[in-house]
Symmetry: D3
Subunit: 320 residues, 6 copies
């Protein structure tokens, strides 16, 4: 019998218990104060990139969650991943609240001034129409262009080093986005909220880097770390292939000479980059592919050829 | 100044405070026991539909979250939405854990029996390759076919009745999926887990229906409820248009006669369905659309025509 | 032999016949008059949400079609689904025509007034660039942000109650969108067209609700209705789990006390929400997963471990 | 006033009328007989490619519909497009019915023979899980891998020649798919249905080609046909650029010598392909882009730089 | 042993060699000069459609690449495809450079004039926010609305005629887009670049048409060309089905009379379009589908019914 | 005037020139030898993940290309990015060729042995149907589940450090995938090809790390590096927020104590994680949002409220 409790003996029954508190809890207060002095519906649109874009909070929330849920190593890394995943849910709430408040009202006289000032109009551009049409003045799980969040950008590969690398990258991209959003607003409340989120991005990036340091000399690490390059491919593992036709690489760059960062090789340059393979010549297709006369071999006989022709008759044989 | 605290006077500063607990918390134990007696990697694949499919937990989690974050009415509905949204995060964890455990090992002798038993092989079909290739034996934020979760299916429209309708539908679809998953397994642990999830789907569907009842006579409600059909369109609001060429509608069906469910009209049938409009004849395109000679009006003169031609020269005028 | 005719004897040949009319027909006139007094290319963009958004006509058209094509119950429900699916095709045409006409021209003097009036400019925002670039002044199968229609949002699950719930929701969302579009225009023709579409949304929502009523006491229904909650899970089927850390639920809300809406239980509240499961502890990964040293069990032995290692040698054995 | 009726005088009111029949109609019988002798759930999966894949019927249905709805030229082309678009809706129904019937039952003894015959098992592969999980034994609006239909592949560009080219291509791809599906089945009913669909693909391809012939010498046509290549770019309009490093192009191929097919030039070859541009050197970014120290110009001053910095203060000025 | 070299004897080892140059090379200079006189960030947005839209360069680049990589016929066609695929990579670079340069700065005084001129503001609309937020003033692999490139639109079907048809269509659509972009700018550099790209689109369209001519009488060709329509379906292969209810087709159109373009039939019209099939009646679903009482056959017994019920017990038998 | 040449004087014309070689070139030979001893169509499917998945070559190719095309800093980094982007195009070709060769034929006797061996059948699972249906035995631009490549996963943010982080992550994920593919095959040719690709992934990861080292102390770097955390947010920049309800963080982990990795702070832990914000209370919606009676403020008056109501009348005023 397979079960999920760490210290249970094989065969021992797994006893469900009524815990005192549920697995996820939500607290009334926001993770950080959201204050909007000058509501700006275009800035609401910009904030959506930090919610549903590939640089946004829905991505890191999902990424850290699935990395944690599937982690098979020491409990401390699972805890760390899930603690921060849970923090990111609160960041989604902070940003969604900021979007909703930027879509709210202001004094009427002020509004007409804003929207009829041509400089502001030109620079502000347009609303995200779905903020009104689909969301009714609330945030959407999509990016600044209204493209719905797509989990295609989530990296959760079940290798701690690769995961940490992916997380460092996600925070680097997210922090860059947050600083650009910061430049787009003079609103003190929004600036303060973004400074808080930038600080948290800083910490998160630092903590993923700290795990890499804890795991060993970072520079030496490849992910996955348990697969070694062997001859003859070790020579390909530390050589820059120069695919530029008209430029030579600087011979003294960090990546063209000296020891590699994992300490296992010496950087070199291949000028020009080699073509190590043959000219590819594919076999003609069997007739049932309908590839056209010029690309078809009359006799057929490929795996798929037999597969496709065989399917019907095989079914036939077992049918009355 | 705009701010988010309910009882704050205008102009009064909003004072951030150090709360005693964070906005979202995660508890060590799962929302429900996950026990897998006979690990089955194909069943792991099937469970993915309940994680990342449009019928799955990532959808309802995101849907209830964004409905709650953007809700502008009484606090009790916001609380209810966020409490259940938070519960759904835990369901994602339960299912992701079940996937990971179904991908785990069994005794070797048993494995070969399973995979070489042709009846099992034929019926089980194939693994989700990304469970191994991308997830390294863990769940993915995608559906049973490996299609990544796409928030396109999230309904969070800022109208409580429409939201409740969408939530009732999401739970109806999710509960149907869960019962089908239940049929696919004889594993006692998986059956128990699915029975729990089905029970929770039941409660969630009941609670959204209860809100509709609390809001007033459900049958009478349209969403949005504050837009009335007026003459001449009130006649179109309770008539079934029969677009079938060769069938008449039964005159005694609930939807073809008797009072409408909102109590505002009487059902009728239009046989055949009417075409109430004109034959559409679009104007020829201006030349700059390059619509082809047969579709172009030489003189141009449309809004867009002037727009496009004007853009360059307008820029020109303000350039040196 | 399997065939699709209802009253055919087994073994009797199915005789195709030349019917007098084809399966789908198109009539010259529009389903409703499309009149545009003041062409507005930004409103054309807004209308796209009602064509290709998850709230739009392409979604309900596809949803009702596939529900009807796959329906295995009484003919009257299939007829009803396909009649309304067919009606929705006509709504796509009405809206696509409205988009095309809003992209058409107006008198030149008027145009310059419109586009140079800063209040209008600021409020109108920008065109959907693909209306010109890709469509050449015609509608696109996409939403107001130009995101192409994605059938991911289509619910067609082969359970009549779940389908009806999904259809009620789709019309609720669609009707909400239509009323918001109505607010965005003063054009009498566009207002009239939207009033017609709102009336049809009303009828469609009423008819799906009528089916639910006809099928039995609506409040009592879960989808699927043929799966009962049994002990010990019946207690989970009517209890609100409160995942809020700092708020108690009102004890007198419709969803926290009194009989459940399906008449099978009594609402209660679990304060706080329980964690009914164990702490999840996953097994280490086998070496071939390359999960990193800290997450790997040397001996391997899992289903997938054997699977992956076995694949090559199994192929090997049957190769020369 | 703008309106859609062709012969109406300006200012004359557009009178809606009660037509005798609705815009789209659905007939009871299928467009073609669907007969399945040996139900095969894997073949059901394969048929999905012809429903929801980029080569499938949902694509051409949507493509011809939107081309027709937006067409601004002679009525006969609009009619032709909409007649065939309407036909394609019926093809979706035929295929969806075929999927549903392939998912239906057969005699039990036969079934076990089929699924336990290893040759069949190996060749048949696995079911599309969503046929059961999401569709409940019915077709889905998705492709053979369960990827939902995405209107991204629809070409409807508002230029008749480009549209005809796109339609010829869509039918060529669709017909290729249909012949490959034909090779996968021995079922007489399925073979007959596919032969019918292939015949219709033939006609559709022929009719789009016929429009191209009717419009003028096909070979001479570029789309859009109203934009001429002029010096110095006319030389680039008929020269093959050889980007292969190690191969010369045959000088006597149809595309390397002789008159061009539009009769306006003479084919030549550029060996090697020229690089006609400069080395691109982008300006450093302004500070607010946060592009990194090495990529930043201290002074800033770009359009966007001023834009972003200006936004806040502009808003500021109009706020109290 | 299977290998990719054309003239190698079976069994002979394939000797990798160090070629003198790598498979792809990049040259310093652009394929064509990119000059921007009046940087226009909205035009940058428009250019994105030509990069990442279905009409754009990423699509044709990927399409020609995959057609070439998989081609199984004569080398000259593979060479031609890959030469032009390689050219398209350079077009992506040209357009990405043009986007970056349009996002660059201009003299400050000029900028304020531009953005505060209401006519320009109104017509220019808004920036693509991700040009700043995500790209930091550089091009993105997405379309004019910021929708990321999706390879769903790539046609690479392994049939030369279908591929050529798809390529002719792609260039027709792309050329139409380029001429519309041309109309949107007065910038001499941008106009010159677009004229160059239009000329190359011309050549590419001509060369794909030339292949079709070289392969035989184009008009006679169907794709795939090796599948003949036979009786009784040959009659369906040349008959226009008129699905319009209220219009007859012109009898003298090119597609309604006279010889078909492939020379194999004579065009006719079916008025009205026939329904050649039966009324579809699907079997009730087995209980495990949970299709609802009205759609369920108590006895079950379908292929899938047995499949699903059998799975668990089959697994059971091989488990201890 | 803006132009792209580095050393051109302002106003000096940019002279296009006929370069000696085009911008991208393609060489006949593959980047590495592709040899397939035992063609395996299921392995062909697995290889697709390395072509079109988020871990694959189309992603890194597009990512490095767009990073290079938009780079605004020193030429050496642009060169490096484009050299490696160009190398990745060749990797796509290598993998697409490997897919095509795995889909090719083997001796017939062997084939039947393979497909009828139940152990192989069970473990191999099913083909990617589109390899036959859509590709005609060639590779597709999609992943192992047939999901088309989506550029949503491309990170190209215009900040060199963030880009390098994203590139290190992409190679870590890609290298992990490649080692897992390596475990799935015993084919010597495929193993050799994968070892080569793994070696190149090694080098690419090393070179991106080398850039980070060259740019300064890696550990100290945040991206973007030019935005400092200031009081009061500097305290949030180095504190781990523990969102776990039932676990304390280890106080001696690298990320909970000691100097931060950027040397600017000291790690601490917040137990429990704080909620630093207020309870969010959104304003009621204006009537035109149709948010439902309970969520609507009668008076309206918000920015958007005025916006939407004002639009029509503003248009009205400038219309006759």
């Amino acid at each position: 019998m397979i079960a999920g409790t760490g210290d249970r003996l094989e065969g021992e029954p797994l006893v469900p218990h009524q815990a005192e508190a549920s697995v996820f809890f939500h607290h009334r207060d926001l993770a950080y104060t959201v204050r909007v002095d000058n509501p700006n519906p275009v800035f609401a649109r910009m904030l959506q990139q930090a919610i549903g874009g590939p640089e946004g909070e829905l991505r890191v929330m999902t990424q850290y969650m699935f990395q944690g849920f599937g982690y098979r190593g020491p409990k401390k890394y699972r805890d760390m991943l899930l603690a921060t995943a849970t923090e990111e849910i609160g960041h989604v709430e902070v940003l969604a609240t900021a979007v909703a408040m930027n879509l709210e009202g202001a004094k009427s006289e002020m509004v007409d001034d804003v929207v009829t000032n041509p400089a502001v109009a030109a620079r502000m551009g347009a609303l995200e129409p779905r903020h009104y049409l689909s969301g009714g003045l609330s945030a959407m799980p999509s990016d600044a262009n209204g493209v719905p969040f797509n989990a295609n950008c989530v990296d959760a590969g079940g290798n701690l080093i690769a995961n940490m690398r992916a997380n460092v990258a996600a925070e680097a991209i997210g922090r860059t986005l947050a600083t650009r959003l910061y430049e787009l607003t003079d609103d003190p409340g929004m600036q303060d909220m973004l400074r808080f989120l930038i600080a948290r991005d800083t910490m998160h990036q630092q903590q993923w880097l700290a795990v890499l340091e804890e795991l060993g000399p970072e520079m030496a690490a490849n992910a996955p770390g348990d697969f070694e390059n062997e001859a003859p491919h070790d020579t390909h593992a530390y050589s820059f292939f120069n695919h530029l036709m008209d430029e030579t690489m600087p011979v003294d760059a960090r990546w063209t000479s000296g020891p590699s960062l994992d300490g296992k090789g010496t950087f070199t340059v291949n000028e020009p980059a080699p073509a190590l393979g043959q000219e590819p010549v594919l076999e003609p297709a069997p007739p049932e592919v309908h590839a056209g006369a010029e690309a078809t071999a009359p006799g057929g006989g490929s795996v798929l050829g037999r597969f496709t022709r065989g399917l019907g008759s095989a079914v036939d044989k077992v049918s009355p």
